[in-house]
C-alpha cells in the first residue's frame, strides 16, 4: 500500500516549494526587495530569482504527475526542475563580491535548523545532494527489480 504513494516525487515537490514559496517569504522583506539601499535594477534581479523559483516550483508539480510511459525520464526531469533553484544558490557564492546577507543583516546569515547553524548555500547543498542521492538509489533499485 505504501508503494502506491510517490514519496520521492512528493519529496522533490517539497524541495521545489521550499525554494519557490520560501524564497518569496524570505525575500519580500527589508533585507531584499524592500531594502532601500538596493538600486532598482538590483531589486529587478531579485525579482527574477523570486519569479523563477515560483515558476520552477509550479513546473516541478506539473511535471511530477504528468501521465507518461517514460517514468524514469519523468523522475529525472522532476529532480532537475526541483533542484535547479537550489543549485543556482549554491553556485552563486563563487562569484566575486557576493554574500548570503548584506553587512547590516549579518546576524541573519546562518539559520538554525535542527540545532545546526546553516547558510542558504549549506541548506541548498544538503537538499540537492539529498534529492539526487534518493533519485539515484531509486533508479538503481528499480533496475535491479526489473
Amino acid at each position: 500500500m505504501n508503494a502506491r504513494i510517490p514519496w520521492l516525487r512528493l519529496f522533490i515537490i517539497f524541495v521545489a516549494l521550499f525554494a519557490g514559496l520560501g524564497g518569496f517569504i524570505a525575500d519580500f522583506s527589508e533585507t531584499h526587495i524592500l531594502n532601500p539601499l538596493w538600486p532598482p535594477h538590483a531589486k529587478f534581479h531579485n525579482g527574477q530569482t523570486m519569479s523563477m523559483g515560483m515558476l520552477l516550483a509550479v513546473a516541478t508539480m506539473v511535471f511530477a504527475f504528468l501521465p507518461t510511459s517514460d517514468t524514469k525520464l519523468r523522475l529525472i526531469g522532476t529532480a532537475i526542475l526541483g533542484t535547479l533553484y537550489w543549485t543556482s544558490i549554491v553556485c552563486a557564492q563563487f562569484f566575486p563580491g557576493v554574500a548570503y546577507f548584506d553587512p547590516q543583516f549579518s546576524e541573519k546569515e546562518k539559520i538554525m535548523i535542527l540545532g545546526h547553524r546553516l547558510t542558504q548555500g549549506d541548506m541548498g547543498s544538503i537538499l540537492v545532494v539529498a534529492v539526487w542521492a534518493a533519485v539515484i538509489i531509486f533508479l538503481a533499485r528499480t533496475r535491479r527489480t526489473t
Partner: protein, 149 residues
C-alpha cells in the same frame, strides 16, 4: 532537425549566452561590478546567471540528446528554454524594480525610447525568445500530430 526544434534551441541558446554575455561581461559595471550594489544583491544576480545557463542547457539536452519529439518532452524543452525570459518579464512587476537602471547613481543609462515610450532591450529579448520557444513547441506538436498514422 525540424524548424520547431530549431526555434526552441534558439530560445535555449539565448538563455545560456545573453545574460552572462550582456549582464556579466558587457554591462558588468552596471551589475556585479557596480559599487552601489550590496553583496547580497550581487548574489541574486549571480543566481540568475546560473539558473539561466542551467535552464538553457536542460532545454538543449532535451532537444538534441533524445530522439523523441513527443509533446511532453518538447513542452518541457520549451519551458526550460523560456523560463528565464518569462521570469525576467515577471520580475518587472515586483515593487521597486526597474528593467533598466533608473535611480542607479553609479550607472545612469536611460533606455531607448520610441514615440516617448521606453523600450527596454531585455524585455524585447524576453518577448522574442519566449515567442520563439513556444512557437517552436507548437510547430513540433503539430508535426508530431500530422505524422501519426
Amino acid at each position: 532537425m525540424s524548424w520547431g526544434k530549431g526555434l526552441i534551441a534558439i530560445a535555449a541558446i539565448g538563455s545560456i549566452l545573453v545574460p552572462i554575455v550582456v549582464d556579466g561581461v558587457m554591462m558588468a559595471r552596471a551589475h556585479m561590478g557596480n559599487p552601489l550594489w550590496l553583496p547580497h544583491s550581487k548574489l541574486h544576480c549571480a543566481m540568475s546567471f546560473h539558473a539561466a545557463i542551467a535552464l538553457g542547457l536542460a532545454s538543449l539536452i532535451l532537444v538534441f540528446a533524445r530522439p523523441s519529439s513527443d509533446r511532453l518532452i518538447m513542452g518541457v524543452a520549451a519551458f526550460t528554454g523560456t523560463a528565464f525570459w518569462i521570469g525576467l518579464i515577471a520580475a518587472g512587476f515586483w515593487p521597486g524594480t526597474s528593467y533598466g537602471f533608473a535611480g542607479d547613481q553609479a550607472f545612469d543609462m536611460p533606455p531607448p525610447t520610441l514615440h516617448g515610450i521606453a523600450i527596454y532591450p531585455n524585455v524585447m529579448a524576453g518577448i522574442a525568445f519566449t515567442i520563439a520557444g513556444w512557437v517552436g513547441f507548437a510547430a513540433t506538436a503539430m508535426s508530431t500530430r500530422s505524422t501519426k498514422p
